[in-house]
């Protein structure tokens, strides 16, 4: 019994009583997509709480990732066969985020060790690869996925854009482009020292359609027949309207 107590005590000591912890604030709790949505940016800021027992070995770093809802996606490669370009191979990535942004307080190799990146899937190539790891030879396909989505402004990496002041206060702005989809945007903040993650803080930023956007979307999903008929009625009414207007003009 005494041995068990000792063991428990030892375990408690070994447990990292987090010496440095993240306290977070967001400029907005949710993003509303309205009919005139032109993108948005979220200010992510916070402080590092210390209890005085921290060991100061290595520099402090802050890494922030924002990830959109994950959906499966097929990446196809074209190949020239008999002189024409056709879709040859395809790789299915089981869960690619619709949006992914990484912001760091310094160069990646300084703020995050390779092994920690592997464990937490932080950087772009890790985050995308880890979810599609089942397929063979998928390297060039996931690279293509990242390249195409980066060109569309959906995937981005910002090195050194997290301001870290006095090793205590940090802040950054994450830009959400106008072509984002709705869903729960998983936001992770990593606090690292010498490239080792010492604290992680996770939160969700909901991105939702509101007003007429929401109404139309729900109707298309829940009342598909009515929605289809409405679309057709609008089309016929517009066709008739234009015809009548032009006929009136001629007179």
């Amino acid at each position: 019994m005494r041995i068990l107590h000792l063991l428990l005590a030892a375990l408690l000591f070994a447990m990292p009583a987090k010496a440095e912890e993240i306290v977070l604030g967001l400029s907005q709790d949710e993003v509303a997509i309205t009919a005139t949505f032109e993108g948005s940016h979220i200010l992510i800021f916070g402080a590092i709480k210390r209890d005085g027992t921290e060991t100061v070995d290595g520099d402090l770093g802050v890494i922030i990732t924002v990830s959109g809802p994950k959906t499966p996606i097929t990446v196809r490669r074209k190949e020239r066969k008999y002189g024409i370009w056709i879709n040859a191979d395809a790789v299915e990535v089981d869960a690619a985020p619709s949006f992914y942004a990484v912001a760091t307080s310094g160069p990646i190799e300084e703020v995050l060790k390779e092994v920690e990146d592997l464990r937490h899937s932080v950087t772009m190539s890790r985050a995308i690869r880890s979810v599609g790891a089942k397929v063979e030879g998928s390297e060039s396909f996931t690279e293509a996925l990242i390249r195409i989505r980066s060109d569309a402004g959906l995937y981005s990496t910002f090195i050194g854009t997290v301001d870290l002041e006095e090793d205590t206060l940090f802040r950054t702005a994450i830009n959400l482009p106008s072509n984002i989809t709705e869903g729960a945007y998983e936001t992770r903040i990593f606090l690292t020292r010498g490239g080792i993650v010492i604290d992680e803080y996770d939160t969700i930023i909901p991105v939702e359609k509101v007003g007429i956007e929401r109404w139309l979307y729900r109707m298309a999903q829940d009342n598909a027949v009515l929605y289809g008929i409405m679309s057709l009625l609008i089309a016929v009414a517009a066709g008739w309207g234009a015809s009548a207007a032009f006929a009136a003009l001629r007179r």
Partner: protein
């Protein structure tokens, strides 16, 4: 002015869409084509997801062809009887086409087959029309009477004759039914309304007057695209009503203008322009197949083709 589309989930410039709708509407009113083959790639280009582009395009075509048909009805250039017969054949054809499409899909490489088919088909139709109309135009400009197309061939000896007054034809219903069916099959496989196949078929196979062909083609396109819209709305939920509205405002106005341009042109001129357009689409598609693409990879929804 940027508008966020609720189904497509992207922001687009409203004026750009109005303009695109207008241009395609003009072509629609002039030639009796839906314009889907032109609009769909343009929508891909501005970032609309393919599934949404195809479904919404169908809805927009309902509007522009309805607008065009009303303009043609006023000029009495719609053969409703012929349109209905073609439609009847078209429905059977679409059903068959879907079966063929699924069979091709099971074989794989359906996209490629469709594209090659398209190129060969468009090249042949466009080329034949172009040569024929140029010849007609040259003959008439030399002052000679244009060579009259054969009005009597084996087609006219078939049973079940019917009078199509607007077209000035007294022919068997079998050829229009077959034409409608063939176009229905092709339209279902290629995923287009089939206007630009229907128009040459009506001119050359059925011998209908060019002026009547445009209105009649638009008339039957309304039904095909209305059906497609409902199908997409209920099964895939991919009709974006906001996108459709922006496109169709431009489209209905364009269709009215196009009809007026079409009426002013000579039948031969109209056929030459149509031939040029068909050939242009053919050339564009062959370039897609032959030239090295700038991006070798494409993204698609999982499971889709």
């Amino acid at each position: 002015m940027l508008i966020y589309l609720p189904i497509a989930e992207v922001s687009v410039n409203a004026f750009l869409l109005l303009g695109l709708g207008g241009i395609v509407g003009i072509l629609s009113g002039m030639f009796g084509v839906g314009g889907g083959f032109l609009m769909t790639p343009l929508l891909f280009f501005i970032g609309i997801p393919p599934a949404v582009a195809v479904a919404t395009e169908a809805n927009q075509i309902v509007a522009s062809s309805f607008s065009g048909v009303l303009a043609h009805l006023r000029r009495k250039t719609v053969d409703i009887k012929m349109g209905l017969v073609l439609q009847a054949g078209g429905l059977v054809g679409s059903g068959l086409g879907i079966i063929v499409f699924n069979y091709l899909k099971a074989l794989g490489q359906v996209d490629l087959l469709v594209k090659i088919f398209y190129v060969v088909f468009l090249g042949a139709i466009g080329g034949l029309m172009f040569v024929e109309s140029i010849n007609t135009l040259r003959h008439s400009s030399k002052g000679r009477t244009p060579a009259k197309r054969r009005k009597h061939n084996w087609v006219h000896n078939l049973p079940f004759k019917m009078k199509f007054r607007v077209s000035g034809l007294y022919i068997s219903v079998i050829p229009p039914l077959l034409v409608g069916m063939a176009v229905g099959v092709l339209a279902a496989i290629m995923g287009v309304g089939g206007g630009f196949i229907m128009v040459p078929a009506m001119i050359y196979l059925l011998g209908m007057p060019t002026k009547v062909v445009v209105g009649t083609s638009l008339f039957q396109i309304i039904f095909v695209t209305a059906f497609t819209t409902m199908l997409h709305a209920t099964t895939n939920h991919t009709v974006d009503i906001a996108l459709a509205l922006l496109l169709l405002i431009g489209g209905v106005i364009g269709a009215q203008i196009g009809t007026r341009i079409g009426v002013k042109l000579k039948a031969e001129q109209l056929r030459i322009l149509l031939a040029i357009m068909v050939l242009a689409v053919c050339v564009k598609l062959s370039f897609d197949l032959l030239l090295t693409p700038s991006e070798l990879f494409v993204l698609g929804a999982a499971g889709g083709h």
